[in-house]
Symmetry: C2
Subunit: 119 residues, 2 copies
């Protein structure tokens, strides 16, 4: 073990601080179908999920890209856990910045999914 207490890994990823999260960035991140789906699954499961948990209709390269967009916009937090990279919604930060927005967006996405996927 190193010096720190819970250094699950040495690789650290850059995240925007709470105050740096911009609404425009969040909306842009969620305006892509693949990314919106990721966030919906993340919210549905309620726990951190590895990238490989998701079965997305794109290659792994593209998946990495989408996860990075979500992280850099402040929507998710990514942490290495051994060989896996765990992804968690930044619910606390988002709710503090924009109360109710995330739930509202998730509800809207769910309604649209019902409307289109179950005709």
């Amino acid at each position: 073990m190193t010096t720190a207490s819970s250094a699950s890994s040495s690789r650290d990823l850059p995240h925007p601080a709470r105050e740096e999260i911009r609404l425009e960035g969040v909306l842009h991140a969620l305006s892509d179908p693949v990314r919106l789906r990721i966030v919906r699954e993340l919210a549905a499961e309620g726990v951190e999920l590895s990238c490989s948990y998701f079965d997305l209709p794109v290659t792994k390269s593209t998946t990495t890209h989408h996860f990075r967009v979500l992280r850099e916009s402040g929507v998710i937090r990514q942490v290495y856990e051994g060989t896996a990279k765990m992804n968690g919604l930044r619910r606390g930060d988002l709710d503090a910045l924009f109360p109710g927005l995330l739930d509202c967006l998730l509800t809207a996405a769910a309604r649209q999914a019902v409307r289109h996927d179950v005709p």
Copy 2:
């Protein structure tokens, strides 16, 4: 007056039907600072506004472009009124599709504006 009741003009603009409005499209439309600002002013005034009402930091060409993106994504409705083109939020349609979303977004945008513009 012509035959129709309120044919303020002959030029008609294509709008998506309510069912055709996609959440991703709305989010993408609002992820641009200029367009978010337009929507905020539109909501604040509560009435239809002409394009020239807005004092945007872009040229007229670009303004036209942004208004079209908003219209084609289903966020606003545009109607010619003589020489002016009036723009109105499609509140009814948006609220029916995604209840509470528009207000949530407007609140979020307002909070962010306060946080950044009035430090």
